[in-house]
Amino acid sequence: MPVFELGAVKIEVDEDGFMQEPDKWNEDIAKALATTEGVSEMSEEHWKLVHYLRDYYLKFGIAPMIRKLCKETSLPLKRIYELYPSGPAKGACKVAGLAKPTGCV
């Protein structure tokens, strides 16, 4: 498994840079992972998405539907792509320490 290292952060990731042990996630890891998504500064909106994803993940063990994410955070999909250029699943979920959704998605 590749290891991602930045400053004091050192975590196992998969080939696409997703965390392998989501339970070890913390905000420092989020900030470090964000740099791999071209996000150098986490704004309030960046955190809003990440915290929503994180809370949902803790309840349900997976990311929410994209429609639900947009509705509950009041952020349109277009805005999410501006915040995380690889999008909600590949960008925001990665920063929130979630696994990449698999299957027909």
Binding site: M1, D14, E15, D16, G17, T36, E37, G38, K59, F60, G61, I62, P64, M65, I66, R67, K68, K71, L77, K90, P101, T102, G103, C104, V105
Partner: protein, 539 residues
């Protein structure tokens, strides 16, 4: 992580010149963008698969078991005796080449090993070497070659550059099913632990939670509840969607992406709205929460394990029969294998529509009816009120998803439904639709990111046909009935034909549906309808 962006004009300049040194001396080139990552060992372990370990195709050492040659040859021997079709396919091909230019991966890549005849030859050459007298005596003169590590690497590359779409089989004068050869190739690779993660992890999720995404029962309910709220805001009517309801007449099984992904979800809204309107007595299930079956892309054993839950849940809930949603490969499994693999489902009844009384004789044995057949029958009998003008913002064409088309012959029903719910429908050229439909290029479990270049190449012929109707008729919507299509056609369109969106058949049904007591605010995407124009077609 930003990668250098693929450019359509570069991908479209395809070199069809055959390498001069001959195919057996051309070594596999595991170039980034053309293959998939190896299976995560945790997923492989969960499924009890052989040789779980961390490995990646781009590394030199694939960490194979020491007796890997014996394992593969034993595996091939076993399959030759188990599947008469495989034995026939190995012996009967005369290499006429009728299939050669029918493969979307060959058209899009120019790599001769993507000609179906040569893809099969990758396996056939080993078969000749070890299982035929001519090959044992004459060796390469008889087209035989020994099994080496490079052969294994070549199998890995090309059996995962085939989407098992079976377009080539339509043109084979012997009817060789090249998808079955790929399936056997993948089974043999999996005996060595050479599975890809985009298949193994969904299969493992499916075995654990009932669906490829790994959604647990409370998550399933959360998504369905969200959909019901969404429907209420669109229709102004509160719709119910029973979950795990014992004694319901019908079990409804959908691909999990329908209640997770975009644009699949809008089709899911369409199903729920339609079932409410006709008062169908049905239930969803948190256990049979996946119609798709990535086991099909792994091995027949895995397919059987993942499929077993559908009949088991139908029995537990005491339903009479089953309806299945818009999923592609699911229908190859349901239509061609389920009945003999996990049946007979003699505890179920032969399906009869409770709304129209139509018996679905084609499903008398499997007891499972395709949603497009069910809906087409409703419309044919005038059981739903439809307003086509509500789809006037779309100019629609239809992509025949490979498996519903070639594995079950579902050509007319989706077209009948589309023409009943849209005013603007245009067909793509005739050699690119129906049984000659071109694959999305991302089916059979390879629809992920690391092989994006190969997906854009494989999807090129489909996209090219869409571009034709986009330019000629202003088509801006590609309708389809497969969850993999809905996930992978949007990036394909963005790459080759910007301006064309992708939708589920039942999204368009839901748009046109006039619900009793409705106070409509717009279409299922939450957009306002186009200005009232065009005649209303009430079915």
């Amino acid at each position: 992580m930003t990668e250098p962006k693929l450019k359509p004009d570069e991908v479209a300049s395809i070199d069809y010149v055959v390498p001069p040194e001959g195919w057996t001396r051309t070594l596999p080139d595991l170039r980034k963008g053309t293959f998939n990552y190896g299976a995560n060992p945790k997923s492989a372990q969960y499924l009890g698969l052989p040789n779980p370990r961390a490995w990646q195709p781009m590394e030199a050492d694939w960490k194979l078991p020491p007796d890997w040659q014996r394992i593969v040859l034993e595996g091939l021997r076993e399959r030759l005796s188990k599947y008469r079709s495989l034995q026939v396919f190995m012996d009967v091909c005369v290499r006429c080449g009728a299939c050669a230019d029918k493969c979307h991966f060959y058209i899009g890549s120019g790599d001769p090993k993507n000609m179906p005849v040569l893809r099969a030859e990758l396996l056939r050459s080993v078969y000749r070497n070890d299982f035929t007298a001519a090959g044992k005596i004459l060796g390469s003169l008889a087209g035989a070659r020994p099994l080496t590590i490079d052969v294994i690497k070549e199998w890995f590359l090309y059996f995962y550059q085939c989407t098992e779409c079976r377009r080539c089989s339509v043109f084979c004068p012997y009817g060789i099913d090249t998808a079955e050869i790929t399936m056997m190739g993948r089974e043999l690779l999996n005996l060595l632990g050479l599975g890809i993660d985009w298949i193994t992890t969904p299969a493992s999720n499916c075995f654990r939670t009932g669906n490829h995404l790994g959604i647990q029962p409370h998550g399933f309910k959360d998504s369905v509840d969200f959909a019901l709220d969404d429907l209420e805001s669109i229709f102004g009517v509160r719709v119910e969607a029973p979950i795990n309801k014992k004694g319901a007449e019908i079990l409804f099984v959908v691909p999990s992406a329908d209640y997770f992904g975009d644009p699949h979800y809008f089709g899911f809204l369409g199903y729920l709205a339609l079932f409410h309107e006709i008062g169908l007595d049905y239930t969803l299930s948190t256990f049979a929460s996946e119609g798709g079956n990535f086991g099909l892309f792994h091995s027949s054993e895995m397919m059987k394990r993942l499929n077993a839950k559908i009949y088991a849940e139908a029995r537990r809930l005491g339903v009479k029969w089953i309806i299945g949603g818009e999923c592609g490969h699911m229908w190859r499994v349901l239509h061609q294998y389920m009945d003999t693999m996990n049946g007979p489902a003699d505890f179920l009844e032969a399906p009869v529509s409770p709304i129209t009384g139509t018996p679905f004789e084609n499903a008398a044995s499997t007891k499972m009816v395709h949603i497009a057949e069910f809906t087409a029958d409703l419309i044919k009998h005038g059981k739903v009120k439809l307003d086509c003008s509500r789809n006037d913002h779309w100019r629609v064409t239809f992509h025949d998803s490979c498996n519903p088309a070639r594995a079950m012959g579902l050509f007319e029903e989706p077209r009948f439904v589309l023409k009943s719910v849209c005013n603007n429908f245009f067909e793509m050229p005739e050699n690119t639709i129906r049984e000659e439909t071109f694959c999305c290029g991302s089916g059979s479990g390879i629809g992920t990111d690391e092989n994006l270049e190969m997906r854009m190449r494989g999807g090129f012929p489909r996209a090219n046909a869409v571009r034709h109707v986009h330019e000629k008729h202003g088509v801006n919507l590609l309708a389809c009935i497969c969850a993999i299509d809905k996930a992978t056609l949007p990036p394909l369109m963005e790459f080759w034909v910007p301006g064309v969106q992708v939708a589920a058949l039942h999204e368009l049904v839901g748009n046109a549906l006039v619900m009793k007591g409705e106070k409509r605010t717009g279409d299922l995407r939450g957009q306002p309808f186009a200005a009232e124009k065009g005649g209303k077609k009430d079915a």
